[in-house]
């Protein structure tokens, strides 16, 4: 019988408490670089309560409160130190924030900005301000307006009664001021996802005066309110260790983005209602690797989803 040295005993003890890499179920994803900073500027507060919303935003949801200008500024400044490429503002509905214009100007001092909106609060005066800001800014300033159907019945079944006309009225005002927003479609209606669905949107938008329509299609995430509308994830819909080659890792947005809300920092815009996804209080806490252990990660991988434009 051979005697074990103290060093061997310590090494054995360490092996027992350290998880074996090969036994972990979920892949680890490194943060390649902070290209994109997402900010949940209005928290979960929204003037709509869309049935497919993956974070259940609505007029009464204050799970994530509105961010203060100072919170936004702090996150932006920290991201600038990291060499951030671009910013995205989302909610909720960003234009519900009383200080959204200050926040927009703050971001555009440092880099390009995209604001995700449902367009309903864009009146003539705001549209004019947005157009002036677009022309004044040295960086790209883009708006993404969500619309989920080419008819009132199709869209309103998801986004609420009367929303189709209100959204398109906002788009009309942007077009009047020569802005060209990206229309974002979540493909809850499967038939909208294909080429024919795309053509239907192009036709609608050209009829509304958008000469050069821009479209983005997103697959729905089966979490939040969408989980109740349709169905949640099945047990097999999880990423496994070994699923991701380097190219697939690079294509996942969370290899180069982080989200900051009033409640803290998260890997991406999708998972902010999951306590286990929270990475810490500030952006600093989130500049590290993540585990792709949420079923929504499966949607990003399988559908090739990126929240970026």
């Amino acid at each position: 019988m051979s005697l074990l040295s103290a060093r061997d005993l310590i090494r054995r003890a360490e092996e027992r408490v350290q998880p074996d890499e090969d036994l972990k179920q979920s892949p680890t994803l490194e943060l390649e670089h902070l290209d994109t900073l997402w900010l949940q500027v209005t928290g979960t507060l929204c003037n709509l309560a869309c049935l497919h919303c993956f974070i259940s935003c609505g007029p009464k949801n204050d799970n994530h409160p509105m961010m203060t200008v100072e919170e936004v500024e702090n996150a932006i400044e920290r991201a600038v130190e990291e060499g951030v490429k671009e910013f995205y503002y989302t909610g909720g509905e960003p234009f519900m924030h009383p200080e959204i214009r200050t926040m927009i100007e703050l971001a555009l001092e440092h880099g390009p900005l995209t604001v995700l909106t449902n367009g309903i609060l864009i009146d003539d005066e705001l549209a004019q301000w947005l157009a002036e800001t677009f022309r004044r800014s040295r960086y790209s300033f883009d708006l993404r307006v969500s619309l989920d159907g080419t008819t009132p019945s199709e869209n309103d079944a998801i986004r609420g009664r009367g929303s189709f006309e209100k959204i398109l009225a906002g788009v009309d005002r942007l077009v009047e001021h020569e802005l060209n927003p990206v229309i974002t479609v979540t493909t809850c209606h499967a038939e909208l996802g294909g080429e024919q669905g795309r053509e239907r949107f192009f036709k609608l938008l050209r009829q509304r005066g958008l000469k050069r329509p821009r479209l983005k299609f997103l697959a729905p995430f089966k979490i939040g309110r969408e989980e109740r509308r349709d169905e949640g994830y099945r047990a097999y819909e999880r990423l496994q260790k070994g699923d991701l080659d380097p190219e697939a890792k690079q294509s996942l947005q969370c290899s180069s983005c982080r989200m900051v809300t009033a409640n803290g920092a998260y890997p991406c815009p999708i998972l902010i209602e999951y306590d286990e996804a929270r990475m810490g209080d500030t952006l600093d806490d989130a500049l590290r690797d993540i585990e792709l252990d949420h079923p929504a990660c499966y949607t990003c991988y399988v559908e090739g989803v990126t929240c970026r434009t």
């Binding site: 060499g83 490429k85 880099g111 390009p112 677009f134 790209s140 883009d142 020569e178 479209l215």
Partner: protein, 274 residues
């Protein structure tokens, strides 16, 4: 970073260099660009890749590219795909219309590029590094980190460009891939230049094409974007004879892009008419 696929040269001060990209089968604008750059005193020329796509007669660009002793050539995403006989150009479009036109020109280029030129494309370096008057110069196709990354003027923050220069240890970064040229000098004097493309106009309503002329003097490096006219009517005629899409011909004749517009950011898109 690996030392594989690198070409390194060293130069003294007081010289001019020409840097261009995006040939896109346009053998007429290629010859015009080489003539223009040499007439302006460029001692050495650099091509940042994407020889194929869009234009007619793919094989006609290779003699000027391969036979010039004053020209260094690197590989773009298109060259990688053609060189490896892949199924598509890896341009990364998502709009079906963009993909339709991109596939059409890719299939045409793959079919009409001879094997010897495909093999040459496959062996090209993926980056070029030089030292110009003490300035560390890095040339990449899309960006130093990804061959098909688009570096648009309106979507690159100053701090992001500084990050690229820091991380890839360069004072001057030259790229192509987007087809629209721009220059930026950071507060610390370092520069990033997208040299545009010589294969098709820069979506500005003009029919000429653009490249970068670099003047390395004792007081630093000046970079200008040069415009080159060429016989675009003849190219349009050749494109029609080859059965290439009318949309492509229209771009050559009008200077406005008609396809692959999806990738344009809001500002660059607003500058065009389609």
């Amino acid at each position: 970073m690996s030392d594989l696929n690198k070409a390194t040269t060293s130069q003294k001060t007081g010289t001019k260099f020409a840097v261009f990209g995006g040939v896109y089968n346009n053998h007429l604008s290629l010859k015009a660009t080489l003539r223009d750059a040499r007439s302006k005193g460029a001692r050495h020329l650099y091509c940042l890749g994407d020889m194929g796509g869009f234009g007619p007669h793919p094989d006609r660009v290779f003699a000027p590219l391969r036979d010039s002793t004053d020209l260094s050539v690197m590989q773009g995403n298109y060259d990688h795909s053609i060189g490896h006989r892949l199924d598509d150009c890896a341009c990364g479009y998502t709009d079906p219309r963009d993909n339709h036109f991109a596939q059409l020109s890719y299939d045409y280029t793959l079919e009409n590029t001879s094997d010897t030129h495909k093999d040459w494309l496959r062996g090209l370096p993926r980056e070029i590094r030089c030292l110009w008057g003490g300035c560390r110069v890095l040339m990449a196709h899309g960006s130093p980190r990804r061959v098909n990354e688009f570096l648009w003027e309106s979507t690159c923050s100053d701090v992001f460009l500084a990050y690229l220069l820091d991380e890839w240890e360069a004072d001057l970064l030259l790229v192509t891939h987007t087809g629209i040229p721009w220059r930026r000098r950071l507060d610390d004097g370092r520069q990033v230049v997208n040299v545009g493309a010589i294969g098709r106009p820069a979506n500005n309503g003009r029919t000429d094409v653009e490249y970068a002329l670099v003047d390395v003097g004792p007081d630093g490096i000046d970079i200008s974007i040069e415009q080159v006219g060429y016989d675009h009517q003849r190219l349009a005629h050749e494109m029609r004879n080859e059965g290439l899409p009318q949309e492509f011909v229209e771009t050559i004749l009008s200077g406005w892009w008609t396809t692959c517009l999806e990738v344009l950011p809001a500002k660059e898109r607003a500058a065009g008419i389609h």
